[in-house]
Every structure is written in C-alpha cells, then in structure tokens.
Amino acid sequence: MDERDRVQDDEAKGPPETDPRIAGEKHPVAKMIGIGVLASLVGIAITLWIDWFPEAGSTSANKIDTLYDVLLICSVPVFVLVMTVAIYSVVRFRAKPGDLGDGAPIHGNTRLEVIWVTIPFLMVTALAIYGWITLDDIEAKQPNEMVVNVTGQQFTWTFQYPSEKLDAKELVLPVDRPVDFRIHTKDVIHSFWVPQFRLKSDAVPGLTTTVRVTPDREGNFEVVCTELCGLGHSTMRQFASVVSAGEFRSWVADQKKAAGGGAPAGGGGGQASGPDAAALFTSNGCSGCHTLAEAGATAKVGPDLGKLGKVNAAFIRTSIVDPNAEVTKGYKPNIMPQDFKDKLSKEELDALVKYLLKAQG
C-alpha cells in the first residue's frame, strides 16, 4: 500500500475498543466526556469564583468583566479537554517495562479533523463578534461629555479641564458624568490607565488619543503609567478621585482660588511671588524621581532634595540645567534630563532654585 493511501485511510483499522488495553472498558470516550464535563464545571466554578479584577469603577468595567467571564467559560473546557485526553492516554497507554511494541498505526481521521477545525473556528468567530460589539459599546460617544485633557510627561500626569478653564495636578471627576479624555504627551510615550475604569490609551507624541469613561463609583483610584517611559516609570502613579457632582464643583472652585483667580497655574496671575515653584516641581516631573518632603514627593531615583546639606543657589541652578556637572555620589550621570535649560523660563528656574534652597531649612 502506498503511504499516500495510508494517510487518507481513516477508521479502517477498527474502533478504539479493539485495543486490548481498553477492551475491558466500556465506552472509554464516553467516560472521558463525563470526566471532562465534570472537571469543566468545577474549573469554571473556580475561575469565576476568583476575584480577578479590581473593583469596577466605570460603566465599561462591568461589560469588560462579563466579557472576561465568557472567555473563561469558553476556555476552561478547552484546557480540560486537552488535559483529560493527555492524562488518560498517559495512564492507559503507558508502555509496560520491556514493551517493545508499537502503537496502533492510525494516520488520521478526516471526520475528526474536520470537527476540530470547525468547532474552534466557530468559537473564535463568535468570540470575535462579541468582542467587536463590546468594543463599539464601550467606545460609543456619550451625551453631555466632559472633556479632560491628560498630559503625560516624565514622570507625572497633569490634567486640564477646558470647560472649567482649570489646570490641575490631580484628577478629580464627578460621578456618573461621561468623560472624554484627550491624551497628550510632552516627551516620550506614556500610557494612561485607571485599572478600576478598565480602559487605557497610550499618550503618543504628535497625536491626541482618546478614552471615553463614565465613572459610576465614588472613590480614590490609581492613575498608572503602563508604557515604559524611562527611569521613573514605576513611580509614575497618581490618584484619581471620583466624587459627587457637588464636591466636584467645590473642588473646581478651590482650585481656581488657589491658582489665583482662574488663571492656569504657572501663568503668572499677577502674584508677587512669580511662578508657583511647588507646582513647577511636580509639573516638570521632578517629583517623579526625587524625594522632597514639602512637595510630598517620595521617589528615590535621584537624591533626596530635602537633604542636600550645605549648598548655595548657584549649585542648585547648575544641577538643574547641567545635571552632569556634579553627580551626587551613589548616583549615575546621564539619568536626569538635560533639557531643563530650554524647558524652564528664567523666572521659573529662579523660583525653583529659591524653593529648593528654602527646603534645606
């Protein structure tokens, strides 16, 4: 017989029951199906019982959680099927010591192969359609959206509320109000993610990306950067607060008052003190790497700026504009960005130097 014929040769070798090793067993396949169904049910129960997600904080969250549950329900039986057949075969068909025999010369079974092409095909097609519907659902435009501009930079987030004409260092959102985040970056790629909202998008230089979220639970959540953005990437975590509409309005009012009558922070506002150094410290990303008790910064990438010892203004100024001029022992050169000379105006630099000098006590 030509081997090509043999490849096509299907069940001619007789049903599996003729194998002496499973001859005494009635319906081994039925038995495996029974075990498989049972194990699948147990597996599904366990995987659904596990508390996978952080608490749901947006209207999209529940849809994504449900989608994941459906994925689990489809996946567990597939895994159980593979495990059942593998374990059953190993137990049943394991060679006895000294057994030099060969297995049954089965080359294939067209019917079986058609089945295991068709069923996975239908399964993934169904899941893809479900995924598509869910995606359209969670990204649909909502009425009465509030636009919030999110700007990433090494290693901090800042937020801007165009409708309120407000710049803020923290993200505060009114509950149940749809938000349209417009995401930007000042330097490299970042990724804006609030795990409780389940949604994220990269912040890409030159592009404005969007994420639509309707927060539906009050609380404090973390804003996490998930795209590697450099040295302080792991410290690029901030808080988002979802509050009631009333609290949001009073927060906006407070912020405006603090910023000096509605002008965006850092915009001067006619105050004698010039630029707000504490704001500059955060908005320029200093707090992403340095500890400074007064600014509430606790990062440990660079030296603690509250403990510089006996230093003068000239030293601090040089250290900001030319960080490699003198590197603190135990730290490496070329880590701190070297472009603050261009980024900061003279007034801003003066304010920062004064602020840091004062912080030494």
Partner: protein
C-alpha cells in the same frame, strides 16, 4: 608556529588583531571626519564607540577569525586553499573554538553558545525577582532594573530561543533529510560567528556610560532615540543577530529544497523539516523589518535624522508598525521549530504515526501566512487608527485554528500509542499543557476590550512566558534530551532529567501563574517598584522563581556530567524511524557513508515491514544497524567546484 604566523593565519590571534585594527580604522574615520568639519570635540567618545567598537571591531573580528578567507581569496583571484576537510569534524574541545564548516560542529557551537546566554539572561531574571520580592528599592536602582529586564528579554529572544532552534536544526536537519551537510557550509559558519557579537554587545552595554539599554527589548521610539549610549549596543547588536538569523534561514531553505535524499518528497519530510522550512520563510521575509526599525533608531541617534521626531515630520507610531511587523512573526519563529520537535518526540516516544500528518504541515503554512496579518494586535492601545483593531482581532483569533489542529493532532497521536515517559516525552507533555494555557490567554488578549485593560500589565508577562517558556523552552529541553545521545554519543541521566522536568514544571507554574492575577488586578509590567497591595503575590512569585531557576542547575549538571562520563549511546536508542537515527551516535564526519534512499513516510510506527529509508536496496536499516564508521569512502564532501 611563530607569533607572526599566528597573526596571519585564521584564528583567535588574528581575531584580536582584527578587533584592534577595526577599532582603529573606525576611530580614524570618526576623527578625520570630525576634524574636517571642525566639530568639537574631535575625539567624541560616543561616535568612536559607535563606529570603532560597535561596527569596526566586529568586522575586524569576523575577518580575523577566518570567516571570509576562502571568499576573499576566490574573489581576488588568488588560488583558494584546497578543501582538506580540516574544517570538518571536531576532535577536541578546541575545535569548537575555530571556524568550522561541519554542520554538526556548528550545531553544537550554536547550542552551547546560546545556553551560555540563556544562563546570563536567567541570572538577570533572578536579580529582578530579588528586587521585586518586596516593594521599594532593595538591590538595584531603577536604571539598573530597567536595564535588567531589557537585556534579559533581548538575550532570551535574540541570543537564546531563536538561535538555539537554529542550532538544533543545524545538527539534525541535514541528517534527517539525508544530506552530507548544509547547502552553504561557509555561510553557515559565518552565521554562527556573528551571533556572539550580538550577545557580547548586549552584555557589555552595562559598561556603557549611563548603563545598559533600558527601553525594553521593544525599544519604542522616541524613548530609545533619547536615552544614553547603551541603547546603541542594542540597535547594533540586533543587526548582527538578525543577519545571522537571515543567513541561516536562507541556508535552511536551500538545503531543504535541494538536498533531500532520493525518494524524500515534500510529503515524506519529517515535520521538524517542515517546521524549519516554514520558520525560515518567516525569518527571511520578516527579519529585515526589525533591522530597518533599529537602523531608523540608530540614524536618529547618530546622524540626527528625524524618523521619530514628530515636530520635524517624523512618525512615532511608524516605529511600532515596522517593529511588530517583524516581532509578531518572530513569535512564530520562536514557536514553529518547537512544534516540529514536539512532533518528532511524541511520535517517537509514543511509537505512533503523527496523526493527520498533512494537516500538521498545512497548519504550519497557515500559521506563516496568518502570522503576517496580526502584528497590530500588539498596538490595540497605541493610538493607531482604531478600525485596524477589528481585522487584527479576527486574524489573531483565527490563528488559534491551525494551532488547535496541532494540539489536537498531538493528543490523537498519544491515543493508543505505547507511551514511554522518558524526559523528552515529559517535556513534550508539559509543553502541550502549558502552551494550551498560553494559547488560551492569547485568545483572550486578542479580544480588544479585554486587551485594553491588561495591555502592558503582568498579564502580558504571564502570557509571554507561558508561550515562550512553557512553550518554546520546554520544546528546546525536549529536543536537547531527545537528540543528546545522537549529538554526544552518550546517554543522559534519566532520573535527573525527570527531576529537572518536575521541578521546572511545578515552579514554572507557581512563578508565572500568579502573574495573570496581579496583572488583571492592576500591576503594570516593567516596573522596578509597585504598590503595596501586590506584595504577597510578588513574594510568592520570587520564591518560586528562585527554585525554578535552581532547577536549571540540574539540567546543566546532567548535560555536562553525561557528556563526559555518561554510558555510551547506541545509534538508535529510541528505535526511531527518521534517518538521523540510522547512523552511528555521533554520526560519521560526513554523515553518510552511503546516501540513503527514502521509501516511505517518516512515522510508519506499527506498520509491519515499512521503513522510512534504506541504505542499500531492500535492506531495512532500522534494526539498529550501525553503518560502517566514517573514513573509508564516505559520501563526497561538500566542496564547490568553481
């Protein structure tokens, strides 16, 4: 031999001379150009390192060690040194440190080199897990940490998984198809000797100013165009690894197409040959794209081109598209050879024909084609045109179909076999279960809304390690154990092999399983520090990772001790059908004293009287017959007759 002779003949002396000359030449070019332009400083350290150390020195080393001698002589019209076969076979350990054109020597050179880098990458993983065992900063600062995971991933991908498969295939494929060697033995040697350059560059990047490259193995622009010097060690290292990979793939394609033994039709090729054939197609088509992406970065960094500076007309997302157009097919470059190994191992150790052989081959081809249509599933949250996500989701999920065919066919191959649970078989079974999990999480990740949540979290870390460790590396272990007797002529220790399997299987799952959980719960990846709430799981993961890492020492000991003192192996210890097992262990220097003739498919277990190949007419070679030892009147060596 006098010192002067040593410096002029191919070898390490001349290689070091070449490194010095190459570095000198590069430095001169930099200094001359800079002084002509009047740039200050003339002795620019970064430029000298780039041109002298990262470009000039490697070429000097390749020329010095002797990769180009034959070609240079031929091209210049000088008489070539007649092939005296001194470049074939290895008679002492020193022969493995020379340019050698024997595919079996090159195979072992590949495997040992890549396992060296596997150990380096593994130690970095251990250091990372030590740092992540608890929140805060304990052992390494964030810069070093970012360097650790970047170099770890780059070594594992470019210096271990991809080339170790090339190494195994180098050894096995010519034997399997009944060929005396690869089609281009000198190109084969060049491919190998380019590889350590890439590895050494990635390792030495730690000594660059500002530390090792710290932008991940993905090196996304514009972060990578704006970081310290170490990045250049990656962008150029990848070029050498990529060139090595492309040259080898080309070699496999030509070898498999033109050098099969008489009677070996495409439908009689073992599935490992099919797997390497399809993998090589992927490599040849896709690898130039990563070379391109890294050249863009290099030019942006060194020549102030503006590929990725959006303010001057650049496009940041272009990097990701070009990068993933290689790097997604690369996932299959790292998986298809493993599929081939598993087919060989399962059918041999279960003593049954591979179920649905033709579908197994077709599914490989289907994966190659579909593999080029899914790259943007790595970019669902990247800000690209949103409509692309849907077709990419569908094609990604469709890849599950051919992959499923393979899993189910292996299971059906086990059914009613006579299963010998030797170490290679254990790793094959471990592979099937772990890869199924990795495949399932892959399907989940293809579903866009779920992917948006878990993108760039530890769920991705879990998924990739289930696919690349539970998947690829388990197949590598299976393959190494399976062909160890053939390569070394000795048997490994079965008990230690099983211990190695069970320890790695259990602690692999304890290490990477929980990462699914912390990822969905909100822990981002590539972080040196994390929020308190993930502390418990991370401590468990770290402890498991240490035991998991230690289990590799058992493998290392087993391999080294067995290679030196193991019991001698017979030609065909597994009573396998394919041709490589029909010659002695290790095989004769020129593989076959007599060219085999293929008379049937490769997996005719249990079919009475049918063998895959015969060496003399009507004489089955399968009954453990060992052909006459090498030497007398062997097959003609692969000399080209120009």
């Amino acid at each position: 031999m006098t010192f002067a002779q040593r410096l002029t003949r191919p070898g390490w002396y001349r290689a070091f001379l070449g490194i010095a000359l190459g570095f000198g030449l590069g430095t001169t070019i930099v200094v001359v150009i800079r002084s002509l332009y009047g740039w200050d400083p003339v002795w620019d350290q970064d430029a000298i390192v780039t041109v002298g150390a990262l470009i000039g020195a490697p070429f000097g080393y390749l020329i010095g060690i002797g990769c180009f001698d034959y070609w240079f002589r031929w091209a210049s019209g000088a008489p070539t040194i007649p092939e005296d076969h001194s470049g074939h076979g290895a008679y002492s350990w020193r022969d493995y440190f020379r340019v050698n054109t024997d595919h079996k020597v090159i195979g072992i050179q590949y495997i040992c080199t890549t396992f060296f880098f596997f150990v380096c990458g593994g130690l970095m993983a251990m250091l990372m897990r030590a740092e992540l065992a608890q929140p805060g900063t304990q052992f390494v600062d964030p810069n070093t940490f970012n360097g650790l995971f970047s170099v770890h991933a780059s070594l594992m991908i470019f210096l271990f998984i991809i080339p170790v498969f090339a190494g195994i295939a180098n050894y096995v494929i010519p034997l399997m198809i009944g060929a005396p060697d690869m089609a281009f033995p000198r190109l084969n040697a060049l491919s190998f000797w380019m590889l350590p350059i890439a590895g050494v560059m990635m390792l030495t990047s730690y000594f660059a100013e500002g530390g090792a490259f710290a932008t991940g193995w993905t090196a996304y622009a514009p972060l990578s165009t704006d970081t310290p010097m170490g990045q250049q060690f990656f962008t150029l290292g990848v070029q050498f690894a990529g060139a090595s990979s492309i040259a080898t793939a080309l070699n496999f394609l030509v070898t498999i197409i033109t050098m099969r033994a008489p009677g070996m039709t495409f439908w009689r090729m073992p599935l490992l040959v099919w797997a390497n054939f399809t993998t090589s197609l992927l490599v040849v088509i896709a690898t130039p794209f990563i070379a391109g992406s890294q050249f863009f970065v290099l030019l942006d960094r060194t020549l102030q081109t503006r590929f990725f500076d959006y303010q001057l007309g650049g496009d940041v997302l272009m990097y990701q598209h070009v990068f993933w157009f290689y790097s997604h097919p690369a996932v299959y470059i790292m998986m298809l050879p493993g599929f081939g190994i598993i087919s060989e191992v399962i059918s041999t150790h279960a003593r049954k024909p591979v179920f649905g052989y033709r579908m197994m081959a077709f599914s490989l081809v289907a994966i190659v084609i579909l593999g080029f249509t899914v790259w943007a599933h790595h970019m669902f949250v990247s800000g690209m045109q949103s409509w692309i996500r849907i077709p990419m989701m569908i094609t990604t999920m469709l890849i599950a179909v051919p992959t499923g065919i393979k899993i189910f066919s292996w299971l059906a191959t086990l059914w009613r076999g006579v299963i010998h649970l030797r170490t290679p078989m254990l790793f094959a079974l471990g592979f099937i279960t772990m890869f199924t999990l990795g495949g399932i999480s892959g399907i989940m990740l293809a579903v866009v809304p779920f992917d948006i949540h878990v993108s760039d979290t530890y769920f991705i870390v879990a998924h990739i390690h289930y696919v690349l460790f539970g998947g690829s590396v388990f197949t590598i272990f299976a393959g190494i154990y399976h062909w160890f007797p053939k390569m070394t002529g000795r048997m490994y220790d079965e008990g230690l092999g099983r211990l190695h399997f069970w320890l790695s299987f259990v602690f692999f799952n304890l290490t990477f399983g929980p990462m699914h959980l912390v990822g969905i719960d909100g822990m981002p990846r590539r972080v040196a520090d994390y929020a308190e709430q993930y502390a418990t799981w991370n401590a468990i993961i770290s402890i498991s990772a240490f035991i998991f890492g230690a289990s590799f020492l058992i493998f290392l000991y087993n391999m080294i001790a067995s290679w030196r003192h193991g019991p001698a192996a017979v030609g065909n210890p597994w009573r396998a059908n394919s041709i490589e097992w029909q010659v002695s262990s290790p095989p004769p220097v020129f593989n076959f004293d007599e060219v085999p003739t293929v008379v049937a498919g490769p997996y005719e277990y249990g079919v009475p009287g049918v063998v895959h190949a015969v060496f003399k007419e009507k004489e089955p070679a399968r009954e453990g017959a060992v052909p006459a030892p090498a030497g007398g009147g062997g097959a003609p060596p692969p000399v080209d007759d120009r």
